[in-house]
C-alpha cells in the first residue's frame, strides 16, 4: 500500500531578522512584516504546510513576501529562528530536521533534497565542469568511483537535454536556460524525494521558460518526486502546481488546490493578485 503521509511537514516556521520584543513575540499585528516597536523583520512568520508524495506545491507571492527565505531555510541555507520540519524519508519523519547536527543536515541536503536557485551562481561552481558540478552531489554522498560518477552525470545531462559531449565544459560558458538545466540535473543526482525550485524561470525568455517548465513536469512525472516551486509568476504556478499557497508578509494567507486559488480566491490579497494577472 502506498504511503500517503506527507513527504515534508513544516510547522510554525519562523525566520526573524532582529531580536524581537514583547510586542511582536506576543503575536501582535505587524506593519508589513515589521515590528512597529523593535523593527524586527518577520521574514517568515509561523508558516505551516504539508507536502504530499508526488505533488507539486506552488508558493506564490509578491517580492519580499518571504517565499525564497522560507525555501532557503528549509534547505539549511539560512538559519531559522524557530520552527519544526519533518521529512518522511529521514528517520521516518520522527525527528525535527532543524534540531539535528550539521553533519546530518548536510546528509539531508545531499540525499533528501535538491535545490535549484534563481541565480545559477548560487547553485553551481562556475569554474568546474558541468560533469563535476553533478559529481559534487554524488561525491558528497560517498561515491568514490569515477566511472560510476561520470555515467550518472552523462545520464542526467542527457535527461535535461544538454549534449553529453559538453560534460567537460564549464557552466559559465552555457546559456541561462542551460545553466538552470545543469542545476536541475545536479539537484536530481542522488534521486532526492524532494525538489525545491526557487524562481527557476525568472530571467529566462519565454521559449526557454517553457522548455524548463516542461522538463520539470516530465521529471516529476517520471520520477514521482515531490516539488516545491516558488514563483511570483502566477502563470508558472497555474501551469505547474497541483496545490498553491499564497504568501504575504511572511505568512501563508491562503492555501488550496491551484484551480480553486486561481478561480475562486477567498483572501482579498489573492483576489488582487489573480486580478492583476487577468487584466
Amino acid at each position: 500500500m502506498n504511503d500517503t503521509r506527507p513527504v515534508l511537514t513544516v510547522r510554525n516556521l519562523v525566520v526573524r531578522f532582529g531580536e524581537g520584543c514583547d510586542y511582536c513575540l506576543s503575536g501582535s499585528p505587524l506593519d508589513k512584516g515589521r515590528c512597529p516597536s523593535c523593527y524586527s523583520v518577520w521574514a517568515v512568520n509561523r508558516v505551516s504546510f504539508d507536502l504530499y508524495p508526488g505533488e507539486i506545491l506552488g508558493i506564490v507571492g509578491e517580492s519580499g513576501s518571504g517565499k525564497s527565505t522560507m525555501l532557503r531555510a528549509l534547505y539549511f541555507d539560512r538559519e531559522i529562528t524557530y520552527g519544526e520540519a519533518y521529512i518522511r524519508e529521514y528517520r521516518d519523519g520522527r525527528e525535527n530536521i532543524f534540531g539535528i547536527s550539521n553533519q546530518q543536515k548536510r546528509y539531508i541536503r545531499n540525499h533528501k533534497m535538491g535545490m535549484v536557485y534563481q541565480n545559477p551562481i548560487m547553485g553551481l561552481r562556475m569554474n568546474f565542469s558541468s560533469g563535476a558540478n553533478i559529481a559534487e552531489k554524488l561525491i558528497a554522498a560517498g561515491v568514490r568511483h569515477v566511472g560510476q560518477i561520470t555515467d550518472r552525470a552523462r545520464y542526467l545531462l542527457d535527461h535535461v537535454e544538454i549534449p553529453v559531449n559538453r560534460i567537460k565544459e564549464e557552466p559559465k560558458n552555457f546559456s541561462g536556460g542551460m545553466q538552470q538545466r545543469v542545476q536541475i540535473s545536479k539537484a536530481l543526482a542522488n534521486n532526492p524525494p524532494i525538489l525545491m525550485l526557487d524562481e527557476v524561470t525568472t530571467g529566462l525568455d519565454l521559449s526557454v521558460q517553457a522548455r524548463v517548465l516542461d522538463l520539470i513536469k516530465r521529471i516529476q512525472h517520471e520520477l514521482g518526486i515531490s516539488i516545491i516551486i516558488v514563483s511570483h509568476d502566477l502563470a508558472v504556478i497555474r501551469m505547474m502546481a497541483d496545490r498553491t499557497a499564497v504568501m504575504l508578509e511572511g505568512k501563508i494567507i491562503e492555501e488550496g488546490l491551484t484551480d480553486q486559488i486561481l478561480e475562486d480566491p477567498i483572501h482579498e490579497y489573492t483576489q488582487v493578485l489573480v486580478h492583476s494577472l487577468l487584466y
Binding site: 553533519q103 568546474f128 563535476a132 561525491i139 568514490r144 569515477v146 567537460k168
Partner: protein, 281 residues
Amino acid sequence: MTETILNGHYNFAFLDEGAKREIRRSVLKAVAIPGYQVPFGSRELPISRGWGTGGLQITLSIIGKKDCLKVIDQGSDDSVNAVSIRKLITATTGVLTTTDTQASTIIQSRHRIPEEKMRNDQILVLQVPNPDPLKSVSPKEKESRNLHAEAEYSGIWLRLYEKIIKYGRTTMGADHPVMVAGRYVMNPSPIPRFDNPKLNLSDCLCLFGAGREKKIYAVPPYTEVVSLAYEDHPFTIEDVSSRSCKYCGATNVYFDEIFDSVTQEHYFQCSDSGYCEKRRK
C-alpha cells in the same frame, strides 16, 4: 662569529624560551591529533615569511645542544635557502650539521623526504606553504574549519575528479592530499607524489610548519597515511623505472632532470644530493 652570538646577543636557538615553549605545546597537540592543523603564534624571524619560517620555528623550538642537523631544499643540501637556514640555526645554537641522513637527528626539509629510510629517533620537519587542502574549496577560514570538523572533504575529492575527467589522470605533481589516520585530510607540503608513500607508517615523527599561515600539524610515527584516490583511478607515483642517476647510478629514487646546454644532453641525477654523495663515496 658563532661564539659572539651565543655569548649574549641571542637566546639559544634565536627564539625566546616562551615562544619555543608555546610552539612545542602546539607540536604536542599536533602529535596528539594527527593531521589536525594547530594554530600557533608565528614569530618574526630574520628570513621572510614563505621562505621556511614555519619549519624553522619548529626546528628552533625542538633542537637541543646534542642534536645533529641536516637542512635540505628540494633534496639539495647546498641550495641558498638550505644554506641560509642552516647558518642561522648553527649560529644561534652551535649544533653539529651533516649532509648524511642517517647521522642526523633532525632534518628540516623543503619539498622532499630523504631517500634513506628515517629511524624512530629522528624527526623530519617540513616547510609548508599551503597547509589547508580546503583553502581552494573554501577560502574562508571559519568555513574550512567547520568542514574539517565535520570531515566534509567533498570539495577536495571534486578537485581530483575534475582533473581526472579533463586530463585522464590526477595532474597534481606535488602536494597530493592525504588522509591521516582515517580522519583528517592533510596537505603533505609540496613533496612529490613519489614521497607520499614514505609518510605512511613511517618510523620517524614528521612535523609540518607553515609560518605565513601560522599552522603546525604532524604525522606521528606508525600513523596510517593514505593518498586520496578513486577506486578506479588508484594513486600512482611518478614512473622512474627507466631512469638512473648519471653520477651514482641509483635507480628507483626521485630524480632531477638536468639539461646541459653545452653538450645539449638531458640526463637525470638524484634529487637527494646527500644520498647521491654518500653512494659515490
